[in-house]
């Protein structure tokens, strides 16, 4: 028969693990939310440099689309590893 202390410890451990997981997921969610904004800023700075050297705006936008592609790849790989590990 398990003692009250043993049960208490287990409950405490589960609560700690749950809280840490929630904290981790919230931080990742905040990261995901700010990522889109960061990508937009990066793309704009990148395009500006290309346009300054005489590249057409359309071509500069096409080249900077690589950043969005990379963002999607990173998010997908993070999602994949999270799903695999949880």
């Amino acid at each position: 028969m398990k003692t009250w202390s043993e049960t208490n410890m287990k409950v405490q451990s589960i609560i700690i693990a749950g809280l840490s997981l929630i904290r981790l997921l919230l931080s990742l969610f905040a990261l995901w939310l700010t990522l889109g904004w960061k990508v937009r800023k990066t793309r704009r700075a990148f395009e500006k440099q290309l346009i300054r050297q005489g590249m057409a705006k359309k071509d500069a936008k096409k080249l900077s689309a690589q950043y969005s592609k990379m963002k999607n790849e990173i998010i997908n790989s993070l999602k994949g590893s999270l799903v695999r590990n949880i």
């Binding site: 700690i16 931080s27 905040a30 990148f46 990173i74």
Partner: protein
Amino acid sequence: MSEEKEKRKEKEEKEDVEELREVLGVVSKEVPALIKSIIASVFSEEAGRDMGKAAAAFYKELKDAGMPEETAVKMTENYISVFTSLGDILKGVGKKGKVIISTKEGEEIGKEISEEVSRKIKEKLAEKRREEEEEDEE
């Protein structure tokens, strides 16, 4: 005696819980910070500007050398894609040492290769036939 044992056990369990609390606290703090710093090194205004400068210099050199606009843009795109293949590297890391090319991608590449090979063979055969016909006519 048994009371003492129980107390020791309880103390050990308390220490375990404390340790778990510390470990999970560090993990939940450090993992997002690590990901954040990796992302910031690629997706930031400064990183975009630096990469843009490098790509623009590359493009300008090509243009100055007399390269047509379309080719220069295409080559600059290839130049950037080397840098942006970071996503592929991350994918590979996530797969724990497995082959980076996925089965679907592998199949697509294989299909492309076989199509290209059969096209080349057909071209060569047609060329050979033409040569033989020309020889016969002579």
